[in-house]
């Protein structure tokens, strides 16, 4: 009869116990009691937040007006399971622009005009926040590695990829979010390839030129080795799947959705923002670009929500917040009334939808609320202090 506790099994148990107890000896006892990580920061348990910028500027009429909406999933499925603020506005005062970068910074910082132009470009200045972003508050409060706080960006607005941290002494680059976008991927593989010695001169020049083009609109393009390992692995895997060929990848806002889905699966971010942009093509006069753009965002939201529901990491521990960066015009003197740069009343009129764990269901709030309240509300949901935000918390979302 053999002994149940063999010498080998006993050895394994002893080794495990010594590693466990030994490890504990070097941690302060308070860490164990308060769930604090080795870095001295609290561990974050949820809820995970997905902030969707219903971007490119959209009007209420084509999004949340039930009789004219091109966003059936959001209106018929998501809105009944959450709280809809149908009268959110961007404050109207001199110099408060209704534009994509500005709207994104309003959402990220919870303040108006909290930015400065870091680089002047002909049609699009590169703006950088001057007040801390949600990501910075989040990472300063909790022990969150950079690859778990992500911003997904589209192909068309590279200039927005400098909004992941603020020019602020107490916060800044150490608490930044990581951008995942086609331009970051492209810069990653170009810089990696440029380190190869066997590159032909012609090919090298071509890569250098492409990188230089990307750098015009990108304030930070880290070297491949400077990315955290999970991000490096993410792009390597992306490359194996899609190669270095734009034509193989989904295009436009579909690409943003695809990157977001990959990120949810591979990186499991706890705070993620997805910047949609396609409806903005209506600037150039083709109305269907607006309606198709909205429908594509709606499809993207549906896919993201499906991924959340099927992923145990996110299921019942995630809140999704959907907010446009700005509205669009409603001018009867224009045959295509969808500009947004000129501060018309309609371009200030947006909405917000919150849905998920801990969010009140089937509520429509019609009182006027402010876009900058979104940051304060998300901070409250994630239980961290955001001292520089200005908007009041939208208490109605809380159960």
């Amino acid at each position: 009869m053999s002994c149940l506790l063999s010498r080998r099994v006993f050895g394994q148990m002893l080794a495990s116990a010594s590693v466990f107890l030994g490890g504990q000896m070097f941690l302060p006892s308070a860490c164990l009691a308060q769930n604090i990580s080795s870095s001295g920061l609290k561990r974050y348990k949820g809820p995970n937040i997905i902030l969707i910028r219903y971007g490119g500027g959209v009007r209420r009429r084509e999004t949340i007006d039930p009789s004219h909406s091109f966003s059936p999933y959001m209106m018929n499925v998501l809105a009944p399971s959450g709280t809809l603020f149908s009268n959110m506005t961007i404050a109207q005062f001199r110099g408060n622009e209704t534009d994509h970068a500005q709207g994104t910074i309003n959402l990220l910082t919870g303040r108006y005009k909290a930015y400065r132009a870091e680089k002047k470009e002909t049609f699009a200045d590169i703006l950088q926040p001057t007040s801390p972003t949600l990501f910075e508050y989040f990472r300063k409060t909790y022990d969150i590695p950079v690859h778990e706080s992500l911003i997904i960006n589209g192909e068309d607005r590279l200039q927005d990829e400098s909004m992941n941290f603020a020019q602020h002494r107490a916060y800044g680059i150490n608490y930044r979010a990581e951008f995942l976008s086609y331009s970051k991927y492209k810069a990653y593989i170009i810089q990696r390839d440029l380190e190869r010695d066997d590159l032909e001169d012609g090919k090298r020049d071509e890569l250098i030129n492409t990188l230089a083009e990307l750098q015009i609109k990108n304030l930070t393009l880290p070297k491949p080795q400077d990315y955290p390992r999970p991000i490096q692995a993410f792009w390597e895997k992306w490359e194996r799947f899609y190669k270095d060929d734009k034509r193989l990848q989904p295009r436009g806002d579909r690409l943003s959705t695809e990157i977001a889905l990959w990120a949810l699966r591979e990186l499991q971010p706890k705070l993620m923002m997805v910047n949609y942009q396609d409806p903005d093509f209506v600037h150039f006069g083709i109305e269907s670009h607006y309606t198709r753009g909205i429908a594509e965002i709606d499809r993207g939201i549906q896919l993201i929500m499906r991924s959340v529901e099927t992923n145990p990491f996110y299921r019942e521990n995630t809140v999704v917040a959907i907010v446009p960066d700005c509205g669009r015009d409603d001018n009867p003197l224009m045959s295509i009334p969808y500009q947004h740069h000129f501060s018309s009343r309609s371009s200030h009129e947006i909405f917000a939808l919150f849905s998920g764990s801990g969010i009140a269901k089937n509520k429509i709030i019609t009182k006027e609320v402010d876009q900058i309240s979104v940051a304060a509300t998300l901070a409250k949901l994630m239980n961290f202090e955001a001292p520089f935000t200005e908007g009041p918390v939208l208490e109605e979302v809380l159960i």
């Binding site: 600037h283 083709i286 001018n331 009867p332 224009m334 045959s335 500009q339 018309s344």
Partner: protein, 390 residues
């Protein structure tokens, strides 16, 4: 003596004042009748037709002004030429057609009224058909390129929206091609339109060789005309595209307060159309003068044969000897190569101005897109400004 002087002065002033007053009334009535026709697209050909006659009259005045004093006096003293001194009236027909409608002394009142009505209808019908022919000819040249322009724009943004990288290179080519050819057409258009108006014949628009010869003799004036057209188009773009886009902000309006909104819009477009109409008359007058001078210079230099003139031109210039005195004072340029250099330089500069003209259209479309604006420009095709239906 004093009494005689006073009486003379009194008569003089009275007559002068009456004449001036009559002229003012005449000009205002002609002007505002045209202004009324600016408001409906279906009536716009009437203005085109009338402007055609206006150009014809302006050309005659230029020919008279370019000859010596004596010839000019003789010309205008001829009763059948007196009408060319002024703007054409809406009921003024070509001198050859007038007689039919002049009431006879023994006509009854009803008969007179009937003839007067017939004259108005005949005149309007004639203006309408010539206006349509002017627009038709311009469209014949511009429409295929406008279509390419439109397709280039549509497909270009479609490629951008769908990220169709595979087709990305075709679109800029389509755009560059259509813009370049439209600019070449714009180099041709002013002289061709004036020629059609002066001849009163749509076929004259397509005398390519003659038109090129005439244009070569008035390059600088055509350059100035193109600048005037460009500046006018910029003002029109601001008034019809940019200000309507910013209406709410400029006038601090609530677009939901429709009665007040419509009131402000109506007032804005009233002045816009008025401004446009004035600009159009100025441009067309200048265009006619440039053409008239071009014809005389081309004739005087020997580049243009007398046989290339229309019947009307021959009767005014040759039979009334207006050209004769012009030819006497015309000086040939001593340095041919210098002339040619200036010719090409001005041609190139004018081409650049027309490129800017097209760019103004594109900027207007960026600000406030309207598909019909690819095919139609109020300064070129039909004098009508589209106002959104409120």
């Amino acid at each position: 003596m004093t009494m005689m002087t006073t009486k003379f002065l009194q008569n003089f002033w009275t007559n002068k004042i009456v004449i001036i007053f009559k002229n003012i009334v005449r000009i205002l009535s002609v002007f505002f009748t045209g202004f009324l026709f600016c408001w409906l697209p279906l009536l716009a050909p009437l203005i085109s037709g009338w402007l055609g006659r206006h150009m014809r009259f302006a050309a005659v005045r230029t020919w008279a002004a370019s000859s010596d004093k004596e010839s000019k006096l003789i010309f205008f003293n001829n009763p059948s030429h007196a009408i060319y001194k002024y703007w054409p009236h809406w009921t003024t027909l070509g001198s050859e057609a007038q007689g039919e409608f002049i009431p006879a002394a023994n006509d009854t009142l009803i008969h007179k009224a009937f003839k007067w009505l017939k004259k108005i209808i005949y005149s309007l019908r004639s203006d309408y058909s010539s206006g349509l022919l002017i627009a038709f000819n311009v469209w014949l040249l511009t429409l295929p390129l406008s279509l390419l322009f439109f397709l280039g724009w549509q497909s270009g943004w479609e490629v951008s929206f769908t990220k169709s990288y595979e087709e990305g290179s075709y679109v800029p080519l389509l755009f560059i091609f259509s813009i370049s050819f439209l600019c070449f057409i714009m180099l041709y258009l002013p002289i061709a339109q004036a020629r059609q108006a002066v001849h009163g014949n749509w076929k004259s628009f397509f005398d390519f060789k003659t038109i090129a010869i005439i244009a070569r003799h008035v390059r600088f004036r055509l350059f100035v005309l193109s600048i005037l057209t460009l500046v006018s188009s910029v003002f029109l773009m601001i008034l019809t595209k940019i200000i309507p886009t910013l209406f709410e902000q400029i006038y601090d309006l609530d677009i939901h307060d429709r009665p007040h909104f419509n009131e402000v819009v109506s007032s804005h477009f009233f002045f816009t159309v008025l401004f446009f109409y004035i600009l159009l008359i100025i441009i067309k007058s200048m265009n006619a003068k440039v053409y008239a001078l071009g014809v005389m210079k081309a004739l005087a230099s020997g580049s243009l044969a007398l046989s290339s003139l229309g019947e009307f031109e021959r009767s005014i210039l040759i039979e009334n000897k207006l050209f004769e005195s012009f030819q006497k004072k015309y000086k040939h340029h001593p340095y041919r190569w210098l002339n040619r250099l200036a010719d090409y330089t001005l041609l190139f500069a004018t081409f650049g101005i027309w490129v800017s003209f097209i760019l103004v259209i594109i900027i207007g479309q960026f600000m406030n897109m309207n598909s019909q604006d690819w095919f139609y420009h109020p300064l070129l095709h039909l004098p009508y400004i589209s106002i959104s239906n409120l």
